[in-house]
Symmetry: D5
Subunit: 95 residues, 10 copies
């Protein structure tokens, strides 16, 4: 089941640089793991913003919330989730 | 080059049903052609709305506008385009 | 899996009254059926508006879109869907 | 009498972690008490956000404000309240 | 129990003038009746707009919705309802 | 002459508690005085918010600004003022 | 007493041209009369819009509403009114 | 003097096609004339929209309003004007 | 050439009071100078806000930006500029 | 390929002045370099704001993101990117 997710990151300017680096590094490792596992099939940067547009493939809303809230940068992100359905004109939906 | 595109469709209630059917049918045919050609790699329905979220893969902004403005439902759609870049945590971007 | 759904209805003033009555009546019948089946556990009127706030319990986003788009008033509604997860302070979530 | 309540929590990043833990723990205890008492029949997490959507069942607006303003996290929440009425298509409203 | 209510009226320009007059006249009669009965204690015009700000004094949300939805101009109004509580600095709340 | 006034209070979390108490206490005393003098005939709390909706009865816009800007919490409030006129359906306006 | 008023005009495209001309002509005559009488001291066009920004000098909110609602184009305008006070740095306010 | 101008066009679907063609053709001719004269140095299409972003070089705000309001599509456009100044980092502004 | 300017001031609560006083005093002196010179013909306070609505009379957009950006409170203000043109119903525009 | 870019700068008031000066100086040097290289053909100040409107000419979205995110003030800017296409009425597009 697919969900469209937009994440806008706003790390406070005053955060300790070492802590900031640690957060960004662990966030990236976590993102790579989740992509390898198949639950995070798409991850794009929005041009000009510290933001991404992603698509998650999960078995439930609860699983999605567990994943998102476990991201290291979660406390510094605004996240908007849009549920997706198969489009009737999707090539993969044709008989 | 990828662009995130959201299309919200609003066909007037008073439109002739035959014309409406013709528009929807040709729109679908066009969408399938564009998917087959590779320029429209993702097409999803937003749950509860006559809207889609899409990703287009084109060689220029001009090509994208030509494609979007040639869609049969173009006169009835509000379209928002967001340029995408490769995300540094994208699995495909790793060395 | 629960989804929070808000529906705002805007039937055009010029719609034929008999057609309007037919739509409202079939909408109600459909809503009652869906409540009996268990997929539409909560349905409330927003005070002062031709709108409702609902909770749906479905097995997938696709099922939810199929249900919503089959409602007789669907062409006249603006629908916003918010995915819900179990709250850690929900009484039912306590060990 | 039912009210739809959305709470968005924004605890300042600089808050002392012990104080933060104390607030979250007492908030949860209070939420469980209010659910047991019947005034807070529904409490859901919004996926991807430190927010909840709730339904309260109270005898007056004053009672609702007393409850909300006594929550430990009240100073850190943005709360939006929407009064609900029985929907004419609610199964429980049928003769 | 008090509710703050804002009503914005938008009667279609094309409505038959006689029907419009009938609606406005019956709306006024209804408004006067509700004021006399005590449920509509305050009714003000917003300067420069076909809108009013009102305060209703009702025993429940359901009663308020019944009143609002029975107003002759209800199909042509956008209504926003805000529940009110006694303010701790209200003179009438002092011991 | 009546003005509808909404005040949203946002005292910084870091403000010295004694200073905060002093502000809230003097604000209340001022609010009571202004109610007794007749210029602040209505003062209601918005349920779930540190906000009020008020009606002021003053002889000029300048008088209203002088009153509002002299409130102890003025530096911490967002204030929106809407001028009111007598409504033609106001019971007090009937011949 | 001064009020800042913005008027956005939206005459329906389908209005009879003769009726439109009559409205615009009588609106202009009324505007000139009100300027001559001193109650409408400033009237500017917003560049690129069928809108104006005006300042009215009236003795009460009721007088302002009477003036605005008697304008021939009133049924086709969205009007926003902002009450003004003397600014402490206004040259005319200096001792 | 430069002004940034965004124009969003919304021709009613019901407009007579011949009239529509006439409007679009005369609009284009006018746009070309204005570009040749130097007052309209930049004109770009926004991808996916019946909108343009333009820069005008005029000697006054009045001249700009005269130009914009004389465009054949003016009655069908929403226009937003932003005044521009020379940027201190503009290459042409360097000594 | 006239421009409508709205300035919303937000001096941080933590600013040193002496620095704040110095800023406000020099701002006022500058505002008086600019009014005397004729470039700032109108300056009004918005009731209930630390904001003003002004009209400037300058010979170019660059001159306006130079003036605004040289105001002592400029770093603490949000400024919105709207270009004005002569209104066809302006008394001063009549032949 | 052209992109319309708006940048709103918000450097925290508390930033060390020397660091602020260094950022602004290196930002300007970078902006001049990019203009000389041809990728940043237009750069204008918005009157009254610490903002610019720019046009970039790049070969891809990725190139644009690389440029924007390498600007010294990038961490303090809100950036909005709009893809542009050739307008059919652009003088340069005529046969």
């Amino acid at each position: 089941m697919l969900f469209h997710v937009r994440m806008d990151v706003a790390i406070p300017h005053g955060l300790d640089p070492a802590e900031r680096d640690r957060l960004v590094t662990t966030e990236q490792a976590k993102a790579l793991d989740l992509q390898r596992s198949g639950v995070w099939p798409h991850l794009w940067r929005i041009v000009g913003k510290y933001s991404n547009i992603s698509v998650f493939d999960v078995s439930s809303s609860d699983e999605l919330h567990d994943i998102l809230s476990s991201l290291p940068l979660y406390p510094f992100m605004t996240i908007d989730v849009t549920p997706l359905a198969q489009h009737p004109s999707d090539l993969a939906a044709q008989p």
